[in-house]
Amino acid sequence: MSPQPKAVGVALSGAHLAALFGDRALAAELDASGLAFAVAGIDRIDGSGPADVTVDSTVAAAALAPLVPRLGWLAAAAIHRDHPYNLARRVASADHLSGGRSGLVLGLRDGYAPAGRDGDTAWGGAGLTAGAPIGIHTARDAAAALRELWQSWPEESIIADRRSRIYSRGDQIVRIGHHGVFDIEGPLTVPTTPQGSPVLAWRVTTDEEAAAAGEAADLLIWPADDQGPSKDGGALPSSARGTAVYVELSVSDEDLDPQLSPLLGNPAIAGVVARPGDDAPSLLRFLRHAATTPAIGAQAGGVPGHTLRDRLSLPHSSVQFPDARPAFPAPEPYVAPGT
């Protein structure tokens, strides 16, 4: 029996993002590549130092989504100089504007964030509240807050009924009352998206992180190396069991098929995130190889109208709100004076 087709995505560096805006032809090659999704700004969260050039991941993903309409877009970001409420809004906004093709890859720290007082804490650099220690615990709490915020305003509450003049049933919107590393009352200013919630991925590098991410995220992205999954398609670390795992694989300029086959043939993994060399010419060569690689062309990428969750076979996100309160009173139908 042939294995199930697996999704293949590409991890884009800051230099790739910068190049894509200057070169519409490169964006067109990306769109025609057959890849299922792109990660915008992987170098921001991979533990490396800052490269010479980058573009904010959420801005880049939102701006590239209409230029590269056949791929899903995951913005790489960390709760470092960002706050979960702000990040949740941006990613949910991008998800609406891309028709449900967006999401987030969380990392622990932002490689471009500068040092300075409280600069090495989560949200401490904003000078508003004490920063939280950067690490798995903080990232897991942020992931939980993101999922709650993304579900805090159910789209079904929007009835836009011209007769009663009620736009949205405010009593179906919830104040999430999130209390953890972050205290966030909610709700979000953005309703649930065409795919329910944006896809939440977490790039992990250790067993401990994988275990935390497995509870909090829709999928894991794990680089193939000595500590993580083997690029030859061996068994996954036990910490990753029960979660969709995408293996991040640095690919050379050569033919892709032999590089990807061992992973794509491994039933334990959900897909591959291919990482070409960081410069624009390497990306172009990779895209040309990708376009002629049958294992990539056979993917679900490029089916218009499908959400990223559909393409990646991810279930809808469900969040329970045991302590949530309605955000607003139930609206009464409005009758104009004199009618």
């Binding site: 801005v59 939102a62 706050h83 409420y85 949910a92 891309s98 007082r117 200013t189 955000a327 607003f328």
Partner: protein
């Protein structure tokens, strides 16, 4: 008065999602339940604005949800992301997101705004606000907003740091900042855009806000109710700019104007009435309460405004609400001394906080010409009651009238937002006598 002004006006649009009136979602059959979230809607707004060769689209914002039970405009996509999307489906229009100096980290926001500027080819601005809703504070782990003075002091340091970081992207040299609120050592690595960095705009009319505008901002979204008040504030900010060693033309004054247009004045007023009647009357009272620091529903609608209420509204120590709006409202009430009911009704056409206009495209072109030639404005930030059709009337009827009068360009002459601002005064070089 410089009645021989020879440049042209700047026309921005404050989109307010579907339009400034809460019932906008009920108005046009092209609007549907998901319009505020629909990429097609935003693409259409961008296309119509570019058809009218308008200068910029502006999006207000605050990081908290207002009650959307009757008001679709409570839906707030995050502006930098919203405009990133629109940047890719437009070519010329300037894109100005609002972002808070209270609820952002200056490095992250500087990087994000410069990124928007880069991906839009130099069309980004930044409307900086300090945010005045307590509800926002509770989304960021604070029980209430920081004090107003603190927010403004923080805003001033925040802006200086953002400007320094934007510069660092061009020079490649680290910023070493040690301030009361922030400390950091580092630089941005976002490629500079064709306009270098985003255009800085400031909204609000407090003394501190005006000082910030005079020293730093390249544009002001002012709140004006009368031409006389607008001239006074115009000269104020231009003088502050001169005192700061700047060219007075380097800061553009763009008051908001609430706009209902019709083919006759009566039709415009009827449109405005119908739109007001489609939304609960409590919205006007709520609006007044929100900006005034009183519970307007407790005032007797058939009584005049009590003097102590007007006095209290002018107290700068009162935390919520904008002092600029409050001053402008009190001035308006004192001018005619209306009852509460009369005031709420008259402000349908004349505006409140911002001035309003209900009339024909010709009348509005007269209005623009009058304010512009009187030295009250460099342009307007237009706030149509319902955007989807209001913007069409602006692009297809108002703009051609202004072009015929030599008050607006026929084609884009520049490709960046700063270029659009400069082009507006370039034609006046040498011929313009600015009375300050």
């Amino acid at each position: 008065m410089p009645d021989h002004r020879q440049g042209h006006v700047i026309l921005g649009v404050n989109v307010l999602v579907l339009g400034y009136l809460p019932a906008a979602w009920q108005w046009d059959p092209r609007l549907h339940a998901r319009s505020p979230l629909d990429p097609q809607y935003w693409q259409q707004i961008g296309a119509t604005a570019e058809r009218g060769t308008l200068d910029a689209l502006f999006l207000a914002d605050g990081p908290a949800l207002g009650n959307p039970s009757y008001d679709a405009n409570s839906t707030r996509l995050e502006p930098t992301v919203n405009w990133s999307h629109v940047a890719s489906v437009t070519e010329h229009i300037g894109l100005i997101p609002t972002a808070s100096t209270t609820f952002n980290d200056p490095f992250e926001l500087a990087e994000r705004l410069l990124s928007l500027d880069y991906v839009s080819g130099g069309r980004a601005g930044w409307n900086l606000v300090t945010t005045r809703a307590d509800q926002a504070a509770r989304n960021f782990g604070l029980p209430e907003l920081p004090e107003r003075d603190d927010r403004y002091e923080r805003a001033a340091e925040f802006v200086d740091l953002v400007l320094a970081l934007w510069e660092s992207a061009g020079t490649g040299r680290d910023v070493h900042h040690r301030g009361r609120f922030f400390e950091l050592d580092g630089r941005l690595r976002v490629p500079p855009s064709p306009q270098g960095h985003p255009v800085l705009l400031q909204a609000g009319g407090s003394a501190k806000g005006r000082r910030l505008a005079g020293t730093r901002a390249e544009g002001v979204f002012a709140a004006e109710l009368t031409k006389e008040g607008a001239i006074e504030h115009y000269n104020d900010v231009k003088q502050l700019a001169v005192a700061a060693g700047r060219d007075p033309d380097s800061v553009k004054i763009l008051p908001g104007v609430l706009l209902s247009l019709g083919s006759t004045e009566e039709e415009a007023r009827r449109r405005s009435d119908e739109l007001h009647d489609l939304g609960p009357a409590s919205y006007s009272a709520q609006w007044l309460s929100g900006h005034f620091g009183i519970d307007a529903s407790k005032l007797d609608p058939d009584d005049k405004f009590p003097e102590e209420v007007l006095q209290a509204a002018l107290d700068p120590a009162y935390a919520p609400g904008s002092i600029g709006f409050r001053q402008s409202i009190v001035r308006q009430i004192r001018a005619t001394n209306p009852t509460v009911r009369e005031y709420l009704r008259q402000t349908r056409y004349t505006g409140s906080g911002h001035h309003g206009f209900a009339g024909t495209p010709e009348q509005f072109a007269d209005h623009v010409e009058d304010w512009y030639r009187s030295g009250a404005i460099d342009g307007f930030n237009l706030q149509p009651d319902v955007l989807i059709d209001g913007l069409e009337v602006i692009a297809d009827e108002v703009v051609p009238l202004l072009r015929r009068r030599g008050l607006f360009r026929s084609e884009y002459e520049s490709s960046t937002l700063r270029g659009h601002f400069r082009a507006a005064s370039a034609a006046a070089a040498g011929g313009r006598a600015l009375t300050i």
